[in-house]
């Protein structure tokens, strides 16, 4: 049975702006779902509807078999971790973590045990007597997580919890969240605009744009088989290279190049003969050697990889080569495309090869 079920959820604000359209999702027990998308895509609104901080205009929200659509947040048995931590500055870490349980008037000894257990999981035992102002950003975020853990909720909600942290701390805290998820085996709904977080944390990703769900799937599914142009462009760093091509005699033809299609590709694409499609190639699938010529504009060394930006004719292209290269502006590099994705130009949907 799923822990969390979102059925045809919609949000329309008083000013008639619709933020979320027909959102459907079943979250299984212990699953970590990441909602990802650009700013304003409706991911936080969806999370806030689950939390009860936003009214649900249409649809049903079911947590652990109970319809909680109309329930106030306190009765939903969920815990939320906010981007800005939302800790009480005048309380110690211990008091912050114990506060929600004290409000519920739970036994003080039980509260104590729960707080100590959570503090140990989060490596906060030595910080329990400190106030949030004395902690680093990562520690504060751990306190916020501890406050959620002690309540043992049915569902954990994370609203961009790592956005306030610097890159190094973000990566460390990300690993901690992942470990925490494995340890607690808790159902989690996590919102982020950072695709690296989404790809590394999620059991399944929900990719959203303009209030619509674009694709739901495992990180690999979204990466290898994007459902449409939006997902293809959004997931992956650097983003996928996109070229408009015409299918002509088993070739993908653009003004700047002609690429022979494989047997499998042509089998599917022959029905688009004479039509214009969008061809996508991930930067890591652009390999050195081949007939296409890239005029190099810039060269970025990332240690193990080199990003080469340039043009194939008039098309911008980014290549991600293994190893260290030092191309200069104006160099010409021969490349070929290892794996190609095709999209219908009108519907923007992927054409499955």
């Amino acid at each position: 049975m799923s822990d969390l079920r979102l059925q045809h959820l919609e949000k329309i604000y008083d000013n008639k702006v619709q933020a979320v359209y027909d959102f459907n999702l079943d979250v299984g027990h212990g699953e970590l779902i990441v909602l990802v998308g650009p700013s304003g895509c409706g991911k936080s609104t969806t999370l806030r509807m689950v939390a009860g901080l936003e009214d649900i205009t249409r649809g049903k929200l079911i947590i652990d078999g109970r319809d909680v659509t109309q329930m106030p947040p306190k009765d939903r048995d969920i815990a939320m971790v906010f981007q800005n931590y939302a800790l009480y500055g005048h309380m110690t870490v211990y008091e912050n973590m114990a506060f929600s349980l004290m409000l519920r008037k739970e036994n003080k000894n039980e509260i104590h045990q729960k707080v100590l257990a959570a503090a140990e999981i989060l490596d906060l035992t030595s910080q329990l007597n400190k106030k949030p102002g004395q902690l680093s950003g990562g520690q504060r975020q751990r306190v916020a997580m501890g406050r959620a853990i002690v309540r043992k909720p049915k569902v954990f909600l994370f609203d961009e919890p790592l956005s306030n942290l610097d890159a190094k701390l973000r990566s460390a805290t990300r690993r901690e969240i992942l470990l925490l998820h494995k340890r607690l085996n808790a159902t989690m709904l996590y919102v982020t605009h950072d695709q690296t977080e989404a790809l590394t944390l999620a059991d399944r990703i929900v990719c959203m744009s303009m209030g619509h769900v674009q694709q739901i799937g495992t990180p690999l599914e979204l990466y290898d088989h994007p459902a449409n142009l939006f997902v293809a462009g959004f997931i992956g760093l650097p983003p996928m290279n996109l070229f408009e091509v015409e299918i002509r005699y088993a070739q993908a033809v653009s003004p700047d190049f002609e690429i022979d299609l494989s047997y499998e590709e042509y089998n599917v694409l022959k029905e688009y003969e004479g039509k214009t499609l969008v061809m996508g190639v991930r930067p890591e699938n652009v390999v050195q050697g081949g007939e296409l010529v890239v005029n190099v504009v810039s060269n970025e060394n990332l240690g193990q990889n080199t990003l080469v930006n340039g043009f194939v004719g008039k098309h911008k292209i980014t290549c991600k080569f293994r190893d260290w290269f030092k191309y200069k502006y104006g160099d010409r590099v021969n490349v070929s495309f290892k794996k190609r994705h095709f999209f219908d130009k009108e519907t923007t949907n992927a054409i499955r090869i």
């Binding site: 110690t92 003080k108 000894n109 045990q113 329990l128």
Partner: protein
């Protein structure tokens, strides 16, 4: 936590490490409030120039000092500082002693106002009221002090037990 806490008593002691002594602190704040009720009553009395003496000036200054010291004690006992618990008890004793100073004297002194309602400067009703205020204030301060001492001692003892445990664990690891 290296060791597993089992009994309620152990948990109660362990809780002291992370919670403040709010009981003592709040008792002292209540004592300050009771003292305020006392001096408002005294200074609000209309008994001619009876209270206009050096003593009443000293009493005002003492009230200010008392409130400041009591407030500091409140903050001190909250953080389990033994010294402040002792100060709280001393303040309690002083509050008791004050009953025998201005209130008692005024209760026994003849009223200088001609045709006054009460024959003495402080009527019996007011005397009972201010004595109760000072008495309550004294009891609250003493209770706060004793609770503070008990909790602080328990915490210190528990903390040294934990430190001893940690030391033993470290020695074990070193070996």
């Amino acid at each position: 936590m290296a060791q597993i806490l089992k009994s309620d008593a152990e948990l109660k002691k362990d809780r002291l490490r992370f919670t403040k002594n709010k009981l003592s602190a709040n008792l002292i704040l209540l004592a300050i409030a009771a003292n305020a009720l006392y001096f408002v009553s005294i200074y609000g009395s209309d008994v001619g120039s009876y209270y206009y003496s050096l003593f009443i000036g000293a009493s005002i200054v003492y009230n200010l000092v008392f409130m400041l010291t009591a407030f500091l004690s409140s903050e001190g006992v909250k953080s389990y500082k033994l010294g402040y618990a002792v100060i709280s008890i001393i303040l309690g004793i002083l509050q008791t002693a004050r009953i025998f100073y201005i209130p008692m004297k005024a209760f026994k002194a003849e009223n200088p106002v001609v045709g006054a309602e009460t024959p003495t400067v402080m009527g019996e009703g007011q005397f009972r009221y201010v004595t109760a205020c000072l008495g309550i204030s004294a009891v609250l301060l003493a209770c706060a002090g004793f609770v503070g001492i008990a909790k602080t001692t328990a915490l210190n003892k528990y903390q040294s037990e934990l430190d001893g445990l940690k030391g033993t664990e470290r020695e074990g690891t070193d070996k």
